[in-house]
Symmetry: C2
Amino acid sequence: MDRESHEVRWLTDREMLVWRSYIVSTLMLRQRLHRELVDGQQVSLIDYEVLVCLSDAEGDAMRMSDLATMLGSTKSRLSHQIGRMEAAGFVRRVRHPGDRRGVTAELTDKGAELLRRSAPTHVDSVREHFVDLLTDQEQEIMGRAFTRVLAHLSEAGE
Amino acid sequence: MDRESHEVRWLTDREMLVWRSYIVSTLMLRQRLHRELVDGQQVSLIDYEVLVCLSDAEGDAMRMSDLATMLGSTKSRLSHQIGRMEAAGFVRRVRHPGDRRGVTAELTDKGAELLRRSAPTHVDSVREHFVDLLTDQEQEIMGRAFTRVLAHLSEAGE
């Protein structure tokens, strides 16, 4: 899109409502989820999210670049975070010389145990502050909408 | 809610779909909005969000504690960020000795100018990667749902 040569299309009232309520509630929600994980399990939300991603991946391992994309992080920020998590024993980094995958991050047994222990706290928080506040119809529609946004961003990022 | 004495209600497939697509697309979206602001206007997304909040507030000023709540930040993290922005001339901190409002952050003329200059870039990004991907019906329903989540979190935070 040529962004220089067009008029700005400011958001309408309806668009502004959905955008602002989405952004502000999401920021507050993440802060709340973070605090409940820290208080209950001494793990930060962003570390918890790394554990979930690795645990869902084949072989409990992901390329650092794929992990950065999925977490909306940058390579350098993620590298710093994974360094901390590796020092604590929750993940390990493995280099793959000779193939092009570069460095992968792998879940350790200690990381898997932390995830198992923390998941109930996180699910309770997710229900209380988000999922259980939505009707079935809202869940259907929002699931479809965010899946579309995700596909767009995955394509746009390549 | 007594969280110790109940069975964990894991998410159903539909709940998991909405939750995961929402979380992952939001992380990717924020990273994308951030990059387009940095590339186009040399301002970070979190600094831009501070400018928007102040600009919307009465007198272009907010208590630091209210600003932290709205941005899903903590007092110490926000204080660090506002310190940087103050040094760059975009905001100023004002102490109110004798009343209980504590410290407020105020938008400066330079900050207002940065916001004016950056807003078209940000609106284009928000349209391209989110708002224009949603139907009118989805916007209605999501606006209602996130407004409810926001009200819940605002109450729960007190």
